[in-house]
């Protein structure tokens, strides 16, 4: 077969009207959707898009029915991922290059100006610094408290099961409920903390009257909620440590600290790393507790709260989208850093 015949043959294949010709359906969709958006009225364009999309799905399913069964089975999950995650992600990435506001109809391309603006905005850097401070403190407290709780609950003692449920409860509460609870807890007039301190000092105790106090208040509230999560992961590691290792160490009279460092820690290290990763990512997005406890007052406005103001209160959609991408980038860098460190330690091990 010469080159011309082969070309004719593949063109013929592409244009063949068959139920398994997904290539033609894709071509029709790629041409038809933008064309309908420009030419047809809104409703008709939506109908045309749905028809073309449906056709693409049908032809793809027919084509894959016998050839790619595995792919076909995961396709619904991928479709949901695309619709719910990837498309909005790409859409907001696109928006970040415009000056679009949700409350206006105008749209114009401004390239990287949003990124340029936010990277040179001292307020953004201030909010990032506040966020970083809160991340370090809150994650550190959660790790230490969570680890200690795990060590405690790895032993058997009376009422252990019930106490474990109590300790896990905060993790199941909503952020808003926790924020509201701690707001009352810290209240200088009605709050429990102030009432107790008042008994000794004869003065109401105002925790959130300084930046340090406000940060402590947020860290305590967040740690109260999430230390149990760390505990749960570490506990899973602790129960997997073979008992005979401790028995051998005990026979050899190995000191407690050495026992912990040489036997316990290696078994929980991986899970601890995972907890650190999850909690860091979550803490980076800290919003609800700060919003309810201080509303960003006492210099505690996090970057997530700042994004909320830009996006929801000021309707600066594009600007907040670009800010969100900076955050996403930061979280991805942090995640990869953790994964790199974790992998290196595994290899060393």
């Amino acid at each position: 077969m010469n080159t011309t015949t082969a070309a004719h043959s593949s063109a013929g294949k592409l244009l063949a009207f068959r139920w398994d010709n997904w290539r033609l359906a894709l071509l029709a969709t790629l041409i038809g959707v933008p064309l309908s958006a420009f030419v047809l009225p809104n409703f008709a364009a939506v109908v045309a898009t749905c028809i073309l999309g449906g056709l693409l799905v049908i032809t793809s399913v027919v084509y894959s029915w016998t050839r790619h069964v595995g792919g076909l089975l995961v396709a619904p999950a991928i479709a949901v991922l695309v619709v719910m995650n990837i498309f909005p992600l790409l859409w907001s990435l696109g928006l970040s290059f415009y000056n679009y506001r949700a409350d206006r109809q105008s749209l114009s391309f401004i390239g990287l100006r949003n990124y340029e603006r936010l990277l040179s905005d001292p307020v953004v850097w201030e909010r990032l610094t506040t966020t970083a401070t809160l991340v370090v403190l809150t994650v550190a407290v959660q790790m230490v408290v969570g680890f200690l709780f795990a060590l405690l609950f790895s032993k058997q003692f009376p009422l252990r099961r019930y106490l474990l449920i109590l300790v896990l409860t905060p993790m199941m509460l909503s952020y808003v409920a926790v924020g509201a609870f701690f707001r009352y807890y810290y209240d200088p007039t009605f709050g429990l903390v102030s009432q107790v301190v008042n008994m000794f000092t004869d003065e109401p105790f105002v925790l959130i009257s300084s930046t340090g106090g406000a940060i402590a208040a947020i860290v305590i509230a967040d740690a109260w909620m999430w230390a149990p999560f760390v505990m749960l992961l570490v506990l899973a590691g602790l129960v997997s440590v073979p008992k005979h290792l401790y028995e051998a160490a005990s026979i050899d009279r190995v000191p407690a600290w050495r026992r912990f460092w040489s036997i316990t820690f290696p078994y929980v290290k991986g899970l601890l790393m995972l907890a650190l990763l999850f909690r860091t990512i979550e803490a980076f997005k800290l919003f609800d507790v700060v919003f309810i406890l201080t509303d960003g007052g006492q210099s505690t406005e996090t970057i997530a709260l700042y994004v909320y103001r830009q996006a929801i209160q000021f309707n600066k959609t594009s600007y907040s989208a670009s800010l969100s991408y900076i955050l996403l980038f930061t979280v991805i860098v942090l995640t990869n850093l953790y994964l790199y460190l974790a992998n290196r330690r595994t290899k060393e091990g």
Partner: protein, 474 residues
């Protein structure tokens, strides 16, 4: 066919034809949806609608109220409008949001409807200018009307008569300040900020100290007013101090000539803010956290922790309800304190509260006819009287000047005179950016992080820059 049957046939046909020509047109079912904050004034509105409303058109009009909690209200309404879902035909709106949502194309300009409807025009002509301009006009104080009062509101004084009128407290106050501790509503009406400060200083009691002839069961404080960082929970009070001292905020009625620099941070404005800040030391310690908003001061008052509070009328109903207030039987209401001028007159200039309701641009055809009829019904004298009797307020002069009006609720005596002092904050689309930065700066001053001059300097320079960028200052 005989004659009888011919006659019958003719009658039946004629009757049928007659019926077909004279059959009444069936009443349409019209459903209007309205976004409203979930609180008593809108609950009363729904109750009155359910009990009283009959559309003049004969249509079956159903008004669906979507009650949204106050803290989420702006977020939910904003999301609904900007998403383009066109879910609501009407909405209760804060007056400050007018610019943003009008420029976005959501709130309908109503002048054509008003001009075409003499009844509606008469109603608006009979309305007090302060709420009409604050709730309805954009640009502020222009001729363009976009909204009508739903729940007009002003700041007034709530006072504990059981504490203030008690004989030993009266005597001690007289001994210390050589003046009578105000106790009756008429005496409280004469209170200026100096007296308010004295009362704050006087009632600093620790748990166990004597208070109104008995040992105090908890720490007790004299005064409170809003000083919170959230939303507008300090600006609304500080604006009053600013205007009373003869200073100003950026004047949006004078675009593009009005400046922020030199006005917002003028010497008089600094004195006004200093005066506001000087009274905070007499307030409950929560003020140091920047979270003493209107909900917290309301709670402190209802829980019996303070002698006086400057608060919106919208909270008064719960203050006199024994189910929600520990001091329900001992509350008096008076005008907000003000600044006493050299001639002895008290300037009570204040930022107006309350909310208008608006109609959306996509409300058309029969829906807009029914929406306007609903507006006229709501603002009619009879319904406004019923609203006031149930705890609301009216901006219609003929209603609030009626002698019956002051008998509805104890705070209504402050209403007519209070309206004369009301002004409003900005209506421009950049409102939220101005407000958030201003609240942040006021919070720094309230929590003792910076002085009044620095605070107002920062606010003025931010506003100047933002408004210049927006083309509103040249």
């Amino acid at each position: 066919m005989n004659r009888t049957s011919k006659l019958l046939t003719t009658l039946v046909v004629a009757g049928g034809m007659g019926l077909s020509f004279s059959a009444p047109s069936y009443a349409e079912e019209i459903t209007l949806r309205m976004a409203v904050p979930d609180w008593p004034p809108t609950r009363i509105m729904k109750k009155l609608f359910d009990e009283n409303y009959e559309a003049k058109s004969g249509n079956s009009v159903n008004l669906e109220f979507d009650f949204i909690p106050w803290p989420d209200y702006y977020t939910r309404l904003n999301a609904s409008l900007t998403s383009g879902e066109q879910k609501y035909n009407m909405a209760v709106s804060d007056s400050q949001w007018l610019g943003a949502f009008i420029e976005g194309g959501y709130y309908r300009k109503l002048n054509d409807l008003i001009d075409a409807d003499p009844e509606l025009k008469t109603i608006l002509d009979g309305m007090h200018q302060a709420p009409l301009q604050a709730y309805g006009t954009y640009p502020y104080k222009s001729e363009n009307i976009y909204g009508f009062p739903q729940m007009p509101d002003i700041l007034i004084t709530y006072a504990r008569t059981d504490v203030l009128c008690e004989a030993s407290e009266q005597a001690a106050f007289m001994a210390k300040y050589s003046t009578k501790l105000p106790c009756t509503p008429e005496e409280l009406d004469q209170m200026d900020w100096t007296m308010y400060g004295n009362i704050g200083e006087f009632f600093q009691r620790k748990k166990g100290d004597m208070l109104a002839g008995e040992p105090a069961t908890d720490d007790f404080y004299g005064i409170a007013y809003q000083a919170g960082k959230g939303y507008d929970f300090s600006s609304m009070q500080i604006n009053g101090f600013t205007w009373q001292h003869g200073a100003g905020i950026w004047d949006e009625t004078n675009i593009p000539n009005a400046q922020a620099e030199g006005v917002v941070n003028s010497d008089l404005a600094v004195v006004a803010l200093d005066r506001y800040l000087s009274l905070l030391k007499y307030m409950p310690p929560v003020v140091k956290t920047g979270s003493m908003d209107i909900f917290k001061t309301d709670e402190l008052f209802r829980e019996g922790k303070i002698a006086m509070n400057v608060q919106w009328i919208g909270f008064a109903e719960s203050a006199i309800n024994p189910e929600t207030s520990k001091v329900a039987n001992d509350v008096a209401f008076a005008s907000m304190p003000g600044l006493r001028k050299a001639d002895g007159r008290i300037d009570r200039s204040s930022n107006i509260g309350g909310q208008p309701f608006v109609i959306m641009t996509w409300t058309e055809g029969q829906e807009i006819i029914e929406a306007v009829d609903f507006v006229k019904w709501w603002l009619s004298s009879d319904i406004q009287h019923q609203f006031a009797a149930a705890g609301g307020q009216s901006a219609i002069k003929a209603v609030y000047n009626d002698p019956k009006y002051v008998t509805y609720r104890p705070w209504n005596r402050t209403w007519a005179s209070g309206l004369e002092w009301q002004r409003d904050v900005w209506h421009i689309p950049q409102f939220f950016e101005l407000l958030v930065q201003q609240q942040e700066q006021f919070d720094l001053a309230i929590t003792g992080k910076q002085d009044a001059k620095t605070t107002l300097g920062n606010i003025a320079s931010f506003q100047q820059r933002l408004l210049e960028d927006a083309g509103l200052i040249q």
